[in-house]
Amino acid sequence: METDKVLLTIAVVAVAVSVIGLVFTYNTISGFKLWLTGLATDTATANVTITSSEAINFTTDNINWGSGTVNGGETNATLDTASGTVTGGTWTAVSQGFILENIGNVNVTLDLATDKDASTFIGGTSPLYQFNVTNNEAGSCPSANQSITFGAYYDVNTTSPGTRVCDNFQFTDASDTLRIDIKVVIPADAIPEAKGSIMTATATAV
């Protein structure tokens, strides 16, 4: 009988402890719910911002005809990368024009300027320094957005930013490159020397 009392006491204590533990656990969890902004059912958000980037790149950036002279008896020589020919002179023919790529992630307008015109670049009597733009990849500059006639030669422009070539130069990889060909006419009386000129392309996001 005495044993039963002891056991009964222990059992009552055990129940009391369990009840206290249960209440304490419940209160603790309720308190954390108030602190936290989310539980297992809450949602997480991943945010990504893509910054627009306007960038162009001359993937082919050098045209070099090397050394040469105007043939005897000729008034001038014509060097043309579009046709890949040299007529009336002894320079090495170049058949590769500049390749200009839109490497950004937005369509851009494109202007072309040079640091020298025909007189300051070539010199002599009636020199010529011209450029000609074509789509290297179809649709790089859609027909509706061509500001000049593609495939036709134009005198270079030394006034910044230069001549507007395209109002909507595309950036998608399959159609984002233009070809710029150069033609120079070297008069027989041009001063013998090394001659160089820089063409600069300016892009502005549409």
């Binding site: 910054t51 040469g68 063409m199």
Partner: protein
């Protein structure tokens, strides 16, 4: 006999309360882990593209034979 039944009943109740307490604790722990996972963030870095925007045109004009000829022929008269 009644005392023993009461003791067993109390122990069973105690076990049940303890079990409920354990379940609540486990549930809370699992929720807390999920919340940590939900806190994870995703980010994307930025890349600045820089290209070459200029091309060079070069050539050399050499002296022509006529330009090198400073003398000419001096024939006998």
């Amino acid at each position: 006999m009644n005392t023993k039944k009461l003791i067993v009943t109390l122990l069973i109740v105690s076990i049940i309360f303890s079990a409920v307490s354990i379940i609540l604790n486990l549930s809370f722990s699992m929720n807390f882990k999920s919340l940590e996972a939900a806190k994870s963030s995703a980010s994307a870095g930025s890349q600045i593209l820089e290209g070459k925007n200029a091309g060079n045109v070069n050539l050399v004009v050499e002296n022509t034979p006529s330009q090198d000829n400073n003398g000419g022929l001096n024939g006998n008269r």
